[in-house]
């Protein structure tokens, strides 16, 4: 049992009131971590204290819990309410979950991103449930005139054993609303958890399997028009002119105009990436009519000159970014990256004397790894609904960073943020893409202009060729081995277009005496954005493939070799900035070794291993494969993950399985190339996605059991599987795979 404070200074995280018609309603800030430093608290914006989630107990005992974060398949809409229900001590079957809208608070964290939803809200959600329980008990104590500490609860009932009294939560809820919110509440011991750690079904499962309108693209509204856009066909191009004479007269077409997405004077925030500043817009009565007009319109595009834009990054001071002109091609990208690797780069970390280690090495191994741009390809194409009036706006759609989008929209429309309501619809996939919501701005501007409700829908082609990709990356690893095959030096030279993937302080930093990590970047006009486990999704692949090769050169078992390094990092780490816990890291490797029957599978099946740490969680995987008709057949993936306490194990496992399948798909087939600025793929006929036949026959997920507060889950299983796959493919074919997608090296 731990005690947590429900207030900072005089401001409570929780507000209570009576529910109209009887019952208790508790509003709470789910972000309210009780562990904030005074410094952090001082820096909180005022609005942070706005109450932005609630739980409601009606007098008939029904409990409604608002789920704050948008749902896009991470299952937070089930997991977050489970945490509240646990501390409240109710029967999960009595709980109704509702999606919270975004219209209460400017600075909350209704984010999907960084796998942080549960981690940052864990304590706040527990506190909300515990406070409500406390108030219900206090109300009963008052009514029965018995001491508070003699009262216990069980599944929605309050009991006083000595006097044999009991009452349901519903019956005492109205009285509880009059009890003041406690300053401090006790949280359950993790060993007393009854809901957390048990598998609960997706609260929206039935709606999904019966085709209910859950997604942004399903939005319908009286008098709603459909809008589509045309963006330049190539990066480096902009709109020159368009001729709407034909399309204007086509059936069902209401208007054709150009839309300027951002004002020139606007300082862009981190997620305001906008690839094409001006797009041609067609508005009509129905999707098919607008699609036809889109095919018929004549548009001229022209190359743009180099320009600059003001940018406020997520952290740090404002920057001026230069967007270079030019129509870029993938072949040039490769040449440039190869060149950069030979130049002097920025040294990000240096331990010991790497130069000396390489001079005195008895073996040096150097390998270069590359990966292309990737499109997110959410199954639900980008879309948004907007109904903008002269002084207010009603918006709805799938967003990962809703509050930031709201601010951008308010600025662009000239409508105060309090007058903008955003409903958060379920996301048909996000993976980072829906953090960059230029399409939400476009929808709002179009609606403002049309003075009508509008649903903007991107075609698959608009979506895939519209930018905001996973960057292209390259890294060269160089290792020095001494005559006893000890790894004495490591040099990493990493870069990308336009960002570097380097994490200089991650493993194996800390495990090697002589270490250097360098970084470089190449500018581009191709836009990029977060993509499931940004940067890690490449670094894990390269690093863990390289370690496999080093282990082999040193004549060591790949798992034992990694464990040796981790043992060194745990007992006698090099440097002080290493950002991982070597023991937890080793823990997942040991678990996966045991569960995968490492080295003991029948000889037809080839195994590859990898492990990685990102988003505060540790994941290790073993891929088992056979090789049939020049293709990998993945028999099994065994995954061990340490993400602290697991809220909803079966759903958590589903998310891990998804990360694994997605990782294998992207490693084998994912690729977007460019020629003269034009993306060379635009739909699923040429952009290959993993399908059922190629996905693993079996996936087994094992969670490390511990009492550590929950950490990331949506991303950590994604990066390492690229390498576990490559290492298994090596065992199966004798060939190393250095360049993604691996399918290119398979024939």
């Amino acid at each position: 049992m731990t005690l947590v404070k429900t207030a900072i200074g005089r401001r409570s995280f929780i507000k209570s009131s009576a529910l109209a018609g009887g019952g208790l309603i508790l509003g709470f800030n789910w972000l309210a971590s009780c562990k904030m430093t005074p410094e952090e608290v001082r820096n909180l914006p005022k609005e942070w204290f706005e109450i932005n989630g609630y739980l409601k107990i009606s007098d008939n005992g029904q409990v409604t819990i608002m789920s704050p974060n948008p749902e896009g398949g991470q299952n937070v809409k089930t997991a977050m309410p489970m945490i509240v229900a646990e501390e409240l001590d109710i029967d999960w079957n009595e709980v109704i979950v509702e999606q919270a809208p975004l219209n209460t608070d400017l600075y909350s964290r209704q984010f999907i991103g960084g796998s942080q939803a549960i981690r940052t809200s864990w304590e706040g959600l527990r506190m909300a449930g515990a406070s409500a329980r406390h108030m219900l008990i206090a109300a009963a104590a008052e009514a029965w005139q018995v001491p508070l500490k003699e009262i216990s609860t069980e599944s929605g009932k309050i009991k006083h054993t000595a006097s044999d009294k009991s009452i349901s939560y519903g019956a005492i809820a109205s009285a509880a609303a009059k009890v003041s919110v406690p300053d401090e509440v006790a949280l359950k011991a993790t060993s007393d958890f009854k809901i957390i750690g048990t598998s609960k079904k997706n609260v929206d499962g039935l709606k999904i399997v019966t085709g209910k309108p859950l997604f942004g693209i399903d939005t319908q509204s009286e008098g709603m028009l459909t809008a589509m856009i045309l963006h330049p066909p190539a990066f480096g191009m902009k709109l020159k002119s368009f001729d709407d004479s034909v399309v204007k007269t086509m059936p069902g077409i209401q208007a054709v105009f150009s839309t300027k997405v951002l004002d020139d004077t606007y300082t862009r925030q981190h997620f305001d990436t906008c690839t094409f500043l001006e797009v041609v817009t067609i508005v009509g009565d129905s999707t098919w009519e607008v699609m036809n007009a889109k095919k018929a319109i004549a548009v001229e595009w022209e190359p743009f000159e180099t320009y600059t834009e003001e940018r406020q990054p997520y952290r740090g001071p404002q920057q001026t970014l230069t967007i270079p002109s030019g129509l870029e091609s993938s072949a040039d990208h490769s040449t440039k990256m190869a060149e950069m690797a030979t130049k002097k780069a920025r040294v990000v970390r240096k331990d010991g004397n790497p130069e000396k280690a390489f001079r005195s090495a008895s073996k040096i191994i150097e390998r270069t790894y590359t990966a292309p741009f990737l499109a997110h390809n959410c199954m639900e194409p980008m879309n948004f609904f907007a109904d903008v009036k002269s002084d207010s706006a009603q918006l709805s759609g799938p967003l990962q960073k809703a509050e930031l989008t709201e601010q951008a929209i308010a600025t662009r429309l000239g409508i105060p943020v309090e007058k903008i309501d955003i409903e958060l619809t379920r996301l048909g996939g996000g993976y980072g893409r829906r953090s960059y919501a230029h399409w939400a701005l476009e929808a709002a501007i179009i609606s403002q202009k049309m003075k009508a409700p509008v649903k903007l829908v991107y075609t698959r082609e608009d979506d895939m060729t519209g930018g905001i990709y996973r960057p292209a990356y390259q890294v060269t690893y160089k290792a020095a081995l001494d005559s006893n095959n000890n790894l004495t030096g490591l040099h990493i030279n990493a870069g990308g277009i336009p960002e570097s993937p380097l994490y200089a302080n991650r493993f194996p930093a800390g495990a090697i005496d002589n270490y250097q990590a360098d970084s470089w970047t190449i500018p581009t006009n191709i836009t990029i954005g977060s993509f499931r486990a940004p940067r890690s999704n490449f670094m894990a692949s390269a690093e863990q493939s390289f370690l496999d090769e080093i282990a082999e050169a040193a004549g060591k078992d790949p798992i034992d070799f990694r464990l040796e390094l981790l043992d060194r990092a745990a007992k006698n780490p090099v440097g002080e900035k290493n950002d991982y816990d070597a023991e937890r890291y080793a823990g997942v490797l040991k678990l996966v070794k045991e569960k995968s029957n490492w080295n003991n599978r029948d000889s037809n099946s080839k195994q590859g291993v990898a492990a990685y740490f990102c988003h505060n969680s540790y994941a290790a995987q073993v891929v088992d494969m056979t090789w049939e008709n020049d293709q990998p057949k993945i028999q099994k993936v065994t995954c061990a993950i340490d993400c602290g306490i697991v809220i909803n194990p079966d759903a958590a496992s589903n998310l891990c399985e998804g990360g694994i399948v997605d990782g294998i798909g992207n490693a084998l087939y994912g690729e977007l190339t460019f020629k003269d600025g034009i993306p060379q793929k635009s739909n699923f006929d040429d952009y290959r996605m993993i399908r059922m036949r190629e996905s693993p026959k079996e996936i087994e997920v094992h969670f490390v059991k511990n009492d550590i507060d929950p950490t990331g889950l949506g991303e950590p299983t994604f990066p390492p599987v690229f390498a576990a796959l490559a290492n298994a493919m090596y065992k199966a074919t004798g060939k190393r795979f250095y360049n993604q997608p691996f399918v290119g090296g398979m024939t």
């Binding site: 399997v209 098919w288 829908v457 399948v661 699923f684 036949r693």
Partner: protein, 154 residues
């Protein structure tokens, strides 16, 4: 524009639309049945799968003019209360992540089991290979198809 009489989920519907309009958009825009999803528009992803006289077809490639008096079933019409064995199996295995592809997956799986109530792994893969799931729920889908097959055969 042209007039059409359609049979959708057992109900007669009269419509006046462009005859080239794909059933996907007829369903979504004109009849407001939005369970059938748009994913690619070119018969590559399976998100738009419906049943046409019991066969799984891609509604994005099915112009309204070619439907005639054939019966169309969408995810909304697969069962009254979400209790079709395939839907039940999907819930039991808790298949969906984002859920966007799942209507198409369920329509493809239910058409398969209608014809072949006892499919092998290979047959399941062949039937389901046209349905993309970006969230990567394939292993669960396969498991759910088998559970549905068992419950149909029971």
């Amino acid at each position: 524009m042209a007039k059409f009489n359609l049979n959708i989920n057992g109900k007669e519907r009269e419509l006046d639309v462009d005859p080239t309009t794909p059933m996907l958009w007829v369903l979504r825009d004109h009849i407001k049945l939005v369970g059938t999803k748009y994913g690619c528009g070119i018969a590559q992803c399976g998100a738009c799968t419906v049943h046409l006289d019991g066969n799984a077809v891609r509604s994005c490639q099915l112009p309204i003019s070619s439907v005639g008096d054939k019966e169309i079933t969408t995810i909304e019409g697969l069962s009254e209360k979400g209790d079709h064995p395939v839907q039940q199996a999907w819930l039991e295995v808790d298949v969906p992540q984002c859920g966007y592809c799942q209507a198409g997956q369920i329509m493809t799986a239910s058409a398969l089991l209608e014809k072949n109530p006892n499919p092998s792994d290979e047959e399941i893969e062949t039937a389901m290979n046209g349905n993309i799931c970006r969230c990567g729920t394939y292993t669960r889908i396969k498991k759910a198809v088998k559970i549905a097959a068992n419950s149909i055969n029971a």
